[in-house]
């Protein structure tokens, strides 16, 4: 079943068109990779799906589980099951990770008409997931991402993904700034979350990440459009020949 349908999407930032009619469909259980050179519009797409302000959609639509995503506030999208793992997770001094996780989870549950998660259940869950992601307990008592290394910040994003149980996870350049070991831990965390109902969209510059998170479908973006889609072998092809061949195609 189609989870995410992007149809002929055109997006502007300050009078400049970044996406010129982008179309793609992500079905339940699929892992998609979006690759492309800098400035091709990969991150813009992820921001528009999450509802970041500053982007003007001039044409096209985005449907999530058949509903118009662009009509929803960012927090409604989160409650419906859209999760963006940020390329650069922000630091929030003075808000402990634990408090943030509980507040966010309960806000989502409330929006869905569910009861608040009881504290012991919540703590148990956080402990389990953070252990599997190699996140020390004392990190959870510190301000959100304050003093975290690049790898720790990305693992904190994966921790949230595991707790919030979204149906669509968009990973924006998850590999940037990570060494191999950090990348492996984060990727293992992501793979553990893969399920027949949950889809992943992995945005990346390099093929490297796709050795760890193996996609079903690879899209190549250039100049604000998807210029080619194919199987996982397309990523290897790109690694060998580079993006230049697609610059002209766009």
């Amino acid at each position: 079943m189609a989870l995410l349908e992007v149809k002929d999407l055109k997006v502007r930032v300050e009078e400049r068109e970044i996406l010129h009619g982008l179309t793609m469909t992500v079905n339940e259980g699929e892992i998609h990779a979006i690759m492309g050179p800098n400035g091709s519009g990969k991150s813009t797409l992820s921001h528009v799906i999450a509802g970041k302000p500053g982007y003007e959609v001039t044409d096209g639509q985005i449907l999530f589980k058949g509903e118009d995503l662009l009509e929803m506030a960012p927090e409604e999208r989160a409650a419906k099951g859209v999760f963006l793992a940020f390329q650069y997770p922000v630091e929030i001094p003075g808000v402990t990770t634990m408090n943030f996780l509980r507040t966010a989870l309960n806000a989502q549950r409330k929006a869905r008409g569910e009861s608040e998660l009881m504290v012991p259940d919540f703590l148990k869950k956080v402990r389990e997931v953070s252990k599997s992601l190699n996140i020390p307990q004392d990190m959870l008592k510190r301000g959100v991402n304050v003093g975290f290394s690049g790898g720790e910040k990305k693992r904190n994003e994966v921790l949230q993904m595991a707790l919030f149980e979204p149906s669509l996870c968009i990973l924006d350049e998850m590999d940037s700034g990570l060494d191999i070991d950090a990348l492996r831990i984060a990727a293992d965390g992501v793979n553990a979350l893969h399920s027949p109902k949950r889809a992943m969209v992995v945005i990346t510059h390099y093929q490297r990440l796709l050795n760890y998170i193996v996609p079903d479908i690879v899209h190549v973006m250039s100049k604000g459009r998807v210029v080619k889609s194919g199987g996982k072998e397309l990523a290897l092809e790109l690694e060998a020949s580079g993006y230049a061949q697609f610059e002209d195609a766009a």
Binding site: A50, G51, K52, P53, A73, P74, E75, R77, A78, A79, L84, F86, P89, V90, I92, P93, G94, V95, N99, F100, T103, A104, L105, A107, Q108, A111, G143, Q160, F164
Partner: protein
Amino acid sequence: MNVAVAKTGNGRAVSDLFASAEGRLPGSPAVVAVRREAFETYERLGLPHRRIEEWKYTDLRALVGEVLSLAASPDVAALKRAAEAVKANAIEGARKLVLVDGVFAADLSDVKALAAEVGFKTLREALEKDAGLLKTASTDAVIALNAAMATDGVVLDIAAGTQLSAPIQIIHVATASSAAAFTRSQVAIGKGVRATIIETFVAAGAKAYQVNDAVIVTVGDDSDVAHIRLMDDAADAVNITSQFVTIGANVKFNVFNMTTGAAVSRLQGFITLAGEGSELSANGVNLLQKTEHGDTTLVVDHAVPNCVSREVFRAVIDDRAHSVFQGRIIVRPDAQKTDGKMMTRALLLSDEAEADNKPELEIFADDVSCGHGATAGALDESLLFYLKARGLPEKQAQALLIQAFVGEAIEQIADDGLREHVIGIAERWLERRQ
């Protein structure tokens, strides 16, 4: 210039006020003489206005206009209302001293428990003997007015070596609308004392009232004292409070002020480090909305060498509210090796909110480390989006970031229970916003 300005309707109104109140003001003949002199000082100066440098941002003539007449002594019904407010605002485990409309309310206070550890009198009682209680070195008009009009207060004497087993909470309750209360308290702390003093200002149904409070604190050597003031007066009230603190040697003094109420408020603190080796931590939070005007003015005077002072101040300003922070650090010529730092930050939640930050360093010694910083800005959009992308609605995301912002000042309160109490007041303010 000032003389001409002082001869306005304001001065005459006070004159009538003083004459009509004089019969109700306690004190010996010597006290009456001090009051008259203070009143004459006030009459000459009138309410402070913007041409007086210290009051530049808080023009009481424009903001307040006139001083209201003295509140009547509370009757049985008023005391009953006050009892409810006391119950709602009492800090668990603290020993309460309650002033209702400027008059000490023994039945609402824990005098008996307190007297076992601390010398206690009301100002009314103390003024029978000691006219000095109304004297301060200040020439400020509102302080002179306080000396002239003070009806009551608490006078505490904490003997050397006392380790208070419970905090003392002085609760000011207003029950009378459109009237003024004048209170003055004194806390004399001996050597080697450990104490926590809390002052709470609240309303019990009163509207449009005025509070003018003064508190004089002296701290003996080797003491460890926390002084916390929580001003949550009615939204249309006026609260002007003056604090005078003199600190001895090797003292740890931690003062925290929070403003969450009153249409017009000013806390002016004058803190003198008079003994070497002491550490002062002076912190505060203003939470302002609608058209509220909240002024925190702190003068920290390093009179001797080798003291440390730290000031952390946070203001959160919504709607058309106006926050003022004036922080002056004075380092006297002898006060070498002074380490004084001050940081003030304002968070503006609306385009019409206003913050005035005025840090001043007056340094007369040459071997010191002093600094100040001031910022004003809006909530960080990238942090807000991150929280919203995780499911928090706008107001809730704002509330979380505001709590974090003021947390930097609130976390300076060492006691866990007190800190939680203060966080609770901030949370209620945030709920009122939503």
